[in-house]
């Protein structure tokens, strides 16, 4: 086969199809995992009837949703109502073109010989920037879907998400800037390689950046405690109140795809992507027997678990409190963090190492201080009037 054709058309096409299928499937399975894990947190069983211990529940759900009647409310803007889920789904899947699941390698493919490629769509040299640009398109689908539904609850959900997503893009962007400063690269592959070269996962100097990124990421994906655009107990179902059947499923699937994206980016930027723990310690090299993609997925699943854990633990923020948290705490903190990291990065890798020590000592110290000063639970009953 023509080499140009192979590398420019066939391989990307195969990768695109495979990644869309894999991501859609994994997002589906994630809904099942979430329900099972949440059930464990909540002293119950979770779905355990369809398939082996409920393993096919998500398939049953998808099939049900496909065959459900697709209702468009009266006086809805039907064209936009139709477009909105697509507008959410497409960016959610597109970003998987840049996420590096593992290192580049050479594979023998029968009939084609040796092929050198990596388990990612493409390595764009402005990958991170493109990623932020693409993910922020998704919010339009939510706003328009809420607006087009001709429902006040959906409209309020859409407006909430507009405000929320725009506010939380800012601290998230600054957190990414910190990661870029540390790695001096915008390419996601480059960032992982930089962590290997620096002998340092960026979670150490980027503790604050990671915290900001993950909190903003939870807000970006509309998950508890920031699930205000959906807010079941307040807005019924928020922006997707009037969606049913497969269109609703598309919103749902996008949410889970976005969760995986946020987790994958957190892994790539701060936890060494596909690298094994301590990638430069020679005597741990037996860990290399485990392929990079497995390390990557393990790290991602930790974050996904944290997402579910949050859901089992936290109440929901109120809208104004959410905005206050974003604008008054996260944004100043993220700007300060950029300055801090910039100075450390100026000094190069030793600077980052010093910053790591400072941040982690501060974290542990702060934790100790806080745990000592925990207010005693009020046991004394107040006297009556």
């Amino acid at each position: 086969m023509n080499e140009a054709l192979l590398y420019n058309v066939v391989i990307p096409a195969v990768k695109a199809i495979v990644s869309v299928l894999v991501v859609a499937t994994v997002a589906g399975i994630l809904t099942l995992i979430e329900r099972r894990v949440l059930a464990r947190l909540q002293v119950r069983q979770g779905p355990n009837r369809v398939g082996w211990n409920g393993a096919l529940q998500w398939v049953a759900d998808v099939v049900k949703l496909i065959f459900k009647e697709d209702i468009v409310p009266a006086h809805a803007e039907s064209a936009i109502h139709f477009l909105a889920p697509i507008l959410v789904m497409v960016p959610a899947l597109t970003v998987y073109a840049f996420i590096p699941w593992g290192p580049e390698g050479t594979f023998r493919v029968p009939g084609l010989g040796m092929i050198r490629t990596g388990p990612y769509g493409t390595d764009v040299n402005v990958g991170l920037l493109l990623l932020v640009a693409i993910t922020s398109i998704g919010v339009y689908g939510i706003i328009l879907g809420g607006w087009a539904s001709n429902s006040k609850y959906a409209l309020m959900g859409g407006l909430r998400s507009a405000a929320q997503l725009i506010s939380y893009e800012v601290p998230m962007g600054f957190a990414l800037v910190a990661a870029i400063l540390m790695s001096r690269s915008l390419s996601l592959v480059g960032i992982v390689e930089a962590q290997k070269a620096a002998h340092l996962w960026f979670i150490f100097p980027g503790l604050l950046a990671f915290f900001l990124y993950f909190v903003s990421g939870v807000a970006e994906t509309n998950r508890i405690p920031f699930d205000l655009p959906e807010a079941e107990s307040e807005l019924v179902a928020g922006f997707h109140t009037e969606y049913s059947g497969f269109r609703w499923a598309v919103f749902f699937l996008s949410e889970y795809a976005n969760m995986i994206t946020i987790s994958a980016i957190a892994t790539t930027l701060f936890f060494g992507g596909w690298l094994r723990p301590f990638p430069n310690v020679a005597w741990l090299s037996f860990l290399d027997l485990v392929p990079g993609i497995v390390w990557f997925l393990l790290k991602v699943s930790v974050f996904l678990f944290v997402y579910i854990w949050f859901r089992g633990t936290f109440p929901r923020y109120r809208f104004d409190q959410l905005m206050a948290l974003g604008w008054k705490i996260l944004i100043p903190l993220s700007i300060g963090n950029v300055v801090l990291v910039a100075f450390a990065a100026l000094w190069g890798i030793p600077g980052l190492k010093v910053l790591s020590v400072v941040l982690w000592v501060a974290l542990v110290g702060g934790f100790v201080v806080l745990s000592r000063s925990t207010p005693k639970r009020r046991t004394v009953l107040a006297e009556g009037v």
């Binding site: 309020m156 107990s233 633990t313 925990t374 207010p375 009953l381």
Partner: protein, 386 residues
């Protein structure tokens, strides 16, 4: 937004700034909404998400129960009272029986009194657990629901073993009770109450010092003690506003005067303090249950029903009797004309009267707070609409 009403330039109550040509949106909240706890409908006027006014519209569950009472003989009324506050049937039975007993001047045997109090307090625990579960879900915390239902299940099983029903108990009779406690029942109650304190700690671990929970509840839906008294609000909202008023202590009925328990009172009149009051009441109810268990273990013999005439025909007259139900003062005003049926039986439902304060509490808050406020009032629509 075709339904949007063209209003005059309105102003937000607390900002005081006129809004330039903006209109308030009328939002129909319920009767089918996840957090209106039944079929409560609220017509909201909102400015963005801020509530300008909230008007409760009730009656979706109206069954004419009070009229129905007049067609039934005195004993036949009891099952109907189950359906008022259907998550706390024992206290409903109790309040009605108290009214009839007062009219008949009946003496209830000591043992029956203790069993009644035991049932009441178990019911209070189960009602408060249901409240905690739903109030937490309203604010987005889904996990406490499952923890509290685990314990509520035990209580409902106990009720089932005693009287065969889990919700509509029909467990009391005029002059006492229908049945003896089943063998081994007291031990099961005791086993439950002994671990229950730790279970309450579990709920508190999830909520009491939770930063988000506190942010969502402190300062929300303030109803001061004076306002509570003006509106006739009773129960945890009153005690959460610093007023020490509990019928069990203020006008003791049955054997409450002999029992050792405290009335939890918190001063700040907000949603958080009402939460603290209810959690503290869980602990106090547990204390009462344990004391009743002790007394009943020591005094296994005794009548469970007083000397009740075969046909209940009170003399003409009227009487009011009230108990401290989980949601507040539940009273029955009974008018008799000397026949075997009540001439008029009026219920003083705590849910209905507490709900009246909702527009006052919700004004100026956000839609998200409204949900917290509906939750904190703890209404049951069966009792509001009757």
């Amino acid at each position: 937004m075709s339904e949007e009403r063209a209003g005059t330039a309105a102003s937000v109550p607390d900002s005081g700034e006129p809004m330039l040509g903006l209109r308030e949106m009328e939002l129909n909240f319920g009767p089918q909404h996840p957090s209106t706890h039944g079929v409560l409908r609220l017509v909201l006027k909102v400015d963005g998400e801020r509530i300008v006014s909230a008007r409760p519209d009730i009656g979706y569950l109206h069954r004419g129960t009070e009229k129905l009472f007049e067609t039934e003989t005195y004993p036949m009324v009891i099952p109907h009272t189950d359906r008022l506050d259907y998550v706390a049937a024992a206290t409903n039975n109790h309040a009605y029986c108290l009214a009839v007993e007062k009219l008949l001047a009946l003496e209830v045997p000591k043992k029956a009194q203790y069993i009644r109090v035991l049932l009441d307090e178990l019911q209070r625990i189960s009602s408060h657990l249901l409240w905690l579960a739903t109030a937490a879900i309203d604010l987005g915390a889904i996990t406490p629901f499952f923890y509290t239902f685990r314990e509520r299940e035990v209580i409902l099983d106990l009720f089932e073993d005693y009287c065969g029903a889990r919700l509509t108990l029909n467990c009391m009779r005029i002059g006492g009770l229908l049945e003896e406690l089943p063998p081994g029942w007291i031990e099961r109650v005791r086993a439950f109450t002994e671990v229950f304190d730790k279970n309450i700690d579990e709920y508190e671990d999830l909520l009491t010092e939770n930063r988000i929970w506190k942010q969502r509840t402190i300062g929300i839906g303030i109803l001061t003690g004076e306002q509570c008294i003006e509106w006739g609000v009773t129960g945890p909202p009153l005690r959460g506003a610093g007023v020490k008023w509990d019928i069990r202590r203020a006008i003791p009925y049955e054997c409450y005067a002999d029992l050792d328990f405290e009335i939890p009172v918190y001063p700040n009149a907000d949603t958080y303090d009402r939460y603290l009051v209810r959690v503290a009441e869980l602990r106090q109810s547990r204390r009462i249950v344990l004391q009743c268990c002790d007394w009943l273990a020591k005094n296994p013999e005794g009548e469970i029903r007083g000397k009740v005439p075969r046909v209940i025909k009170p003399v003409a007259g009227d009487v009011y009797a009230a108990v401290e139900a989980p949601k507040g003062e539940l009273g029955f005003y009974l008018v008799s004309n000397g026949s075997n049926k009540p001439y008029r039986l009026r219920v003083r439902p705590p849910s209905f009267i507490n709900l009246q304060a909702l527009p006052e509490m919700a004004k100026g808050h956000l839609v998200a707070d409204l949900v917290a406020i509906i939750g904190t009032i703890d209404i049951v629509l069966g009792e509001v609409d009757r």
